[in-house]
Symmetry: C2
Subunit: 113 residues, 2 copies
Amino acid sequence: MIDETDRLRAEARAAVLKALAHATRIYIVDVIEREGPLCVCELTRRIGADTSTVSRHLAILKGIGILQDSKQGTTVYYSLACGCVADFLGELEKVLSALHQRELRRYQAAVTG
Amino acid sequence: MIDETDRLRAEARAAVLKALAHATRIYIVDVIEREGPLCVCELTRRIGADTSTVSRHLAILKGIGILQDSKQGTTVYYSLACGCVADFLGELEKVLSALHQRELRRYQAAVTG
DNA sequence: ATACTGTTTGGCTATATTGACAAATTTGCA
DNA sequence: TGCAAATTTGTCAATATAGCCAAACAGTAT
């Protein structure tokens, strides 16, 4: 049976991945990483969903510790809680392009017969 | 509104993250990365779930292109389809420990008052 | 106090995910 | 041919997730 340490590690990793595993949330992290802190209303404008929906996505990212918030008046700005996320996104992008390469090769092979 | 390119990138990233965002699946990838190709029955033994459940998790990972399979008799061995996954797991681990550090500091701050 | 803006939360429906069991499939072998 | 082992697939119930609307909440200014 699976080792207890391995199981706990798998669950911790899965929790972080789950927090990021949504197009809206990964977009939020990406755009904040590129442009710096943004408020809920600005993110809502860009995403085009209900404010409440965006707020809930932000709460998830804050909950896991990836984002932090700071209030200025009625406006809440969200920013990255740790720089490590940028490297993570970089590796994710590498995985993505590797998978894409494989996809292309498989397609070539299928066409070539 | 959100840029079309950004939206597509976010969805592609989310798809990969979703495939990995489950304790059982991230465990599977991790153990195969450490020990090499393993068959469904061996993985089932370690995970302790129904064979059909494990098989479905494997199908998800194969579907996104992270794993590949090869049949030997009635046995199916699953292996990593690309080495890039190891680096990805490494960065994930860094994120995790950074979040853990923050957690600790927050705890310290709470105790110290 | 009232009104206004920005944000979060309650409540609900719709959809997706997970996991087990049973049944079907594939392959090897007597 | 027929049995056994390994794996996949059909089906379904339980649970989780996502989204919206409406309502509550927090600041700011009139």
